[in-house]
């Protein structure tokens, strides 16, 4: 019996080895290990054996069964692997063909700049405020210390809708509105991005519609040195950590002292080039300490509160930062222009 089992094992393993597909392997399994298979038969005939032989042969039969099963499993794995390899080979594609294009959208360059500036000031604790574009003469001019007949106020520069309504020429009315909203007794830290309008003929450097971002900080004991500190931080974050700023005296009815703020030219690193007209500096914004008349008109006591304000043209910043040479590009929305500035 022992010989018979050993022969069976050899025979079965022989058949396993020669199987070349999963079906024939399955046939071998059924033939040798099935209920009607030879090993089962051997085990059935065990009754004839002596009690001493029974466990020995039983053990051997199990070993043979296990050996055949292992051989079957191994062979099965091999065949499956081969089948998978074959399938993978069939599935191969030409990876050098072009990919399926994904439609690329993106933000307008002005939006990118606005959001960048917003994020910088949000980080410094400013909130973002908005206001109407069709503004009253009062908020656009008078509340900003520009009474009727003021030399700095020229009707030719504005688009009037009625005698007392006009398209705002600056975003500063949002500051006046916010001061009023805050009732003269709360600190204010705000920026207001928005569209403004001036009576200019559109050309490479003028646009009848453009975008401003202005900022306002009103609190007890605000100093001009704070304005310098905030603008330095802002300029370095926007234009680069090695930038310097300088203030030049200027005039805005809304603020006094008023200054224009220059940042060192990034093209020449302050050495002087065509972009900065050989000065090493580029003007980026206007700023100043909020005029006491403005504070008073908006309900803040200038004895108790002081503040600073600043404003910049977004197109100008974009033109400086990205070297855009014509302001009209921002409004014609040529797809070839817009898609130049998408990071994605």
């Amino acid at each position: 019996m022992r010989e018979k089992l050993e022969a069976l094992q050899a025979e079965a393993i022989e058949k396993v080895q020669s199987s070349d597909n999963l079906q024939s392997l399955q046939d071998v399994r059924v033939a040798y290990l099935g209920k009607k298979g030879p090993i089962t038969e051997v085990l059935r005939g065990m009754g004839k054996l002596s009690p001493e032989e029974r466990p020995v042969i039983g053990e051997l039969a199990n070993k043979v069964r296990e050996a055949i099963a292992t051989a079957l499993d191994n062979k099965k794995n091999l065949l499956e692997e081969a089948a998978l390899n074959e399938q993978l080979q069939k599935e191969a594609i030409d990876v050098t063909l072009p990919g399926r294009p994904v439609k690329a959208g993106g933000p307008h360059l002005l939006t990118s700049i606005i959001e960048e500036v917003e994020d910088l000031f949000l980080g410094m604790g400013f909130e973002i405020k908005e206001g109407p574009e069709v503004e009253t003469d009062y908020f656009n001019f008078e509340a900003l210390n520009l009474p009727q007949d003021h030399p700095a106020r020229d009707m030719q520069d504005s688009f009037y809708v009625t005698d007392h309504l006009l398209l705002r020429t600056q975003t500063s009315p949002v500051q006046a509105r916010t001061m009023r909203e805050y009732d003269g007794n709360k600190a204010i830290k705000m920026i207001c991005p928005g569209i403004v309008y001036r009576r200019d003929t559109d050309d490479a450097t003028h646009s009848h519609q453009f975008t401003q971002i202005e900022g306002l900080l009103v609190d007890k004991n605000v100093r001009m040195s704070d304005l310098k500190g905030v603008l330095l931080e802002f300029s370095r974050k926007l234009f680069g950590a090695d930038r310097e700023i300088r203030l030049r005296p200027s005039f805005f009815p809304f603020t006094e002292p008023s200054v224009e703020v220059d940042v060192t030219c990034k093209v020449c690193d302050g050495k002087g080039c065509n972009v900065c007209k050989h000065t090493g500096w580029i003007e980026i914004l206007g700023a100043g300490m909020v005029h006491s008349n403005v504070l008073r008109m908006s309900g803040y006591d200038p004895e108790e509160y002081s503040g600073f304000a600043f404003g910049m043209g977004v197109e100008r910043i974009a033109m400086l930062k990205y070297g855009v040479d014509d302001i009209r590009h921002f409004y014609t929305n040529d797809v070839r222009f817009l898609s130049q500035y998408h990071k994605a």
Binding site: T111, V134, Y160, S225, E256, S258, V259
Partner: protein, 808 residues
Amino acid sequence: MYVSLNWLKQYVDIDNITPEELAEKITRSGIEVESIERVAPESTNVVVGYVESCEQHPNADKLNLCQINVGTETYQIICGAPNIAQGQKIAAALPGARLPGGVKIKKAKLRGVESHGMVCSLQELGIDEKFVPKDVTDGIFVFPEDTEVGTPVAELLNLDDVILELGLTPNRADAMSMLGVAYEVAAILGKEVNQPEETYQTSDSKAADLVSVKVEDAELNPYYGAFVIEDVTIAPSPLWMRNYLMAAGIRPINNVVDITNYVLLVYGQPLHAFDYDKVATKEIVVRSAKQGEKIQTLDDQERTLKGDEIVITNGNEPIALAGVMGGANSEVSDDTKNVLLEAAFFDARAIRRSSKHHNLRSEASARYEKGIDPNRVQRAGAYAARLLAEYAGGKVAQGIAAFDELDREEKQVKIDTASVNNRLGTTISDEEIASILTKLQFGFEQDNSQFTVFVPTRRGDISLFEDMLEEIARIYGYDNIPYTLPEGEAFAGKLTTKQYLKRQLKQYLQGAGLMETITYSLTSKKRTEMLVSPDVSEQAVFPVKLKMPMSEEHSHLRLSIIPELVNTLSYNVARKQENLGYFEFGRVFLSNEEQITEQPNETARLAGALTGTWMEQPWQQEKKPVDFYVAKGIVEGIFAQLDLGPVFQQAQVDGYHPGRTATVSLNGKVVGVVGQLHPTVQKAFDLKETYVFDLDIAYLMDQYEEVPSFRTIPRHPSVTRDIALAVDEAAHAGDIQRTIQEAGGELVQQVQIFDVYQGEHMEAGKKSIAYTVLYQDPTRTLTDEEVEASYNNIIENVKAKHDAELRS
């Protein structure tokens, strides 16, 4: 304001500083120097020559053959200028000379005759033609007879002068004069200001006997002074004066007029010279104009007066538009003998109104309207009288015929060191403040750290603490102010929900493949009448119209973003960019008044426009054009971002394709539109199939719930049932979907369309729509009975409402 440095030198010492350094200092401490220009730096070897003889060129009618004596030698020079003549002293560029523009003078032969140089016009020497005296614009410049032959003309014509162009802000009217600039420079450099000599000899006549002065309204004209200068001789003004005027951008005319302009530039005080004999009444009456009254001004324009101008009259009729321009009827001319010189102070606002109304700006009005120094009015008049005596041979009558109610008091401003430092964030000492005030030449009284400043009347812009603060800060130097950060409570700012949503929506649309645009808010009337979303047009709204538009193209504020987007598509398609998807998040302006009186409603809209191919994969022959469902899918995505459920309904909207357009509603309210442009609109914009959407995003964002209520994550299995229906081909899948949702009851979580079919296996005029209904209760497992009941109710309802048949 143009500032000649040679001229400025007479009032302040600037010898030890280069023009560039000076310009930098001026810019950094108060007034922007916009340019630094040399009059004509390149002119060399150009000298004064005497025309010994001047004959016609033997071979050319229009050329002259001249012998020019330059002192050491005589040169033969051929000259084409029509005004050259024997006996003149002219500018001769000798061989080897260099002229502006890189011109080099060499010996040359002109029509067979040798020419050893060139006789120059002022333009050829580098002076801007618009400042060149009118009588010599077409010819050469003739020097005065007493000019020494051989003198380099650069010296005589101030060609080596440097001109600074100052960009003056409206508050710095004080710098609209050489003396004002001198004070500014003196403050920066710590120097003194030299004043002009204003004394003069008088004749026996008395001004008050020669003319009477009457002013009707002292508010408008608090001071009017009339000097009388008799027996003047009209001639060119001295060369140095002409040079300065040209450098300042004023064309020389004659000695009398030039002197008034010169003095205006020195003091910032406008003066006007009348021909005394033409003021026949010997009377000056200053009054408001009468409405409809006429005057012919010096620029030969007849002007009809509005009524609020100030006019100078002779008692009967206007002889000058006060502070703006003189009248032709009293103009100084070549035969003027006696001059009435006006030195007056007019109300700034009145002059501004007058100048603006007549669209007439002059050197005088530019100064009056910004405010002049009350303490310089008479001084300027006196200086002019002195010059008229010296350079026009006039005899100055004694005294001034004047009306005088002028306030010449200096304003007082109190400042203290602590307040200055608190506001600037500096540690300036009392001594430094005193030193700055001294540099500015402001009078002051000091009591330790308390200062009372007596502001000179030349600085009309200073009356408040912060005006003084600015003066101190700019002279102290902004560079010397430290960098600090605000001391107030520090906290991080945060976007509001709507600001956050706006960014989120923009990002979603970019991810969906759309490009953001920003278009103009101002548009044409025609465009306000097209492609207005039904939710806007159903309200009674009117576009906002500008009072004085610059063009028809930009005359109204938009009611819709769509026309601008469509225009943008059109612009790009015309440039062969044909596959486009755009969106804009912008405002529209809706007024409910036909004649606007109140601010309009400005509301945010989110609009998009798509045309061309949406997806393309050339080597797989895949090309999917934009269609309605692409646009609709984007709109659905927008709603999903806001966690809102839109309802789409077929609609007829002006400008849209009647069969491919839907209104978009939320909570039963129309909030926008999505659809294809009507083919006629497409054609008008040269576009192929174009799909757009336009949503009242302001309203949608209002509906967004910031903190959505918690939804239990389902732990119990869901059950699905498929329903295939045969319906009329015109039936709307969405309507049936809503019926299923409603009839199905609370357990229905979702109804999805998974197949739409029409054709072979369907009866004509019918189509099949298949839905999957998903049932679920997050808290328990559903029973077959309740699902069955819901299902049966659905079938009953769709049969009844949509005439649907159940397909097996």
